[in-house]
Point group: C2
Chain length 153, copies 2
DNA sequence: CCGGAATAGTTGAAGCTTCAACTTTGTTCC
DNA sequence: GGAACAAAGTTGAAGCTTCAACTATTCCGG
């Protein structure tokens, strides 16, 4: 076991700012979605991905990948969304192991309402307090991180 | 209710890269800490804050604020850490409502071991795939976000 | 100095996530 | 063609977080 290579002072400050900031930011967005629309951010992400898919439906595995969730978690969450009437599930005819999740009309309208407030909050708390070039840097950096992290998962 | 001001295409890409990337990154770090040292990242953060405090102890409320956790969550988590022998709690003599959490020696040594691997992972998955100027941008941006979010909480 | 409001922290239940085991269906290859 | 293996999802239990209610103590205005 090698000697630990600690982060430099500035690196550590930047890293901690990110961890604290992202935890708090995602927390507030989650609360806000939950209290005003009864959705968690995880549920919201699922509705968004479905709304953008052809016929507003996706296979469970793909939906899980796009929403960065485990399959198990998606199963449970979809069950909840289904019982709220926002999503419907149907088995895939060509591959009988498979299941499609599809956004219902009610789900779509719930998403329309929720996304208005959500985007407003994202602007208020994130975009509007970040310099445009810093926002680009964030996009660049996290795109690379996603690629890196996915090699390890 | 006003018209929704959507994010621009690039803004949306940057925002989504951040959300996906941070979820996946924090996820992997959490798994890794959990499997190799039996600690969640939330627990790890608590140990870190305590280790840096004078006498390695802090009041519960301050610890909660520093670790970006609710008091309730901290109570539960501290109870678990206490039962693992990593933390000890004692009431404050000057304010009998108050409680100090203190890192035990065992907690300190657990942290020493865990932080080695954790920092290595943070380098591998975050620092080393990010351009230095992008890292600075992240630090700057999230420092501002913390300030903004804390006005709303 | 007393009664009401505020602060510190805990608790138990409900809700969500993770984990491991399981069922069903598809794929491979001999 | 069928045995072994892999892939898609689901399930229930255990673990962690959130929520609301609660106790105990301190602060503050009159």
């Amino acid at each position: 076991m090698s000697e630990t290579r600690w982060l430099s002072g500035p690196q550590q400050r930047d890293w901690r700012a990110f961890v604290d900031g992202s935890v708090r930011l995602l927390d507030v967005l989650d609360q806000s979605l939950k209290t005003t629309h009864g959705l968690s951010m995880a549920e919201y992400e699922i509705l968004v991905r479905l709304s953008e898919a052809p016929e507003r439906k996706l296979r469970m595995a793909q939906l899980a990948a796009e929403a960065s969730q485990s399959r198990s978690r998606l199963s449970h969450t979809c069950a909840r969304l289904e019982s709220k009437g926002l999503v419907r599930r149907e088995t895939c005819s060509s591959d009988k192991r498979g299941v499609f999740a599809q956004l219902t009309d009610e789900g779509f309208h719930t998403l329309e309402r929720a996304s208005h407030d959500h985007v407003t909050a994202v602007r208020d708390l994130f975009v509007d307090v970040t310099e445009p070039e810093d926002l680009e840097a964030i996009g660049r950096a996290f795109t690379a991180i996603i690629k890196r992290v996915d090699t390890v998962r």
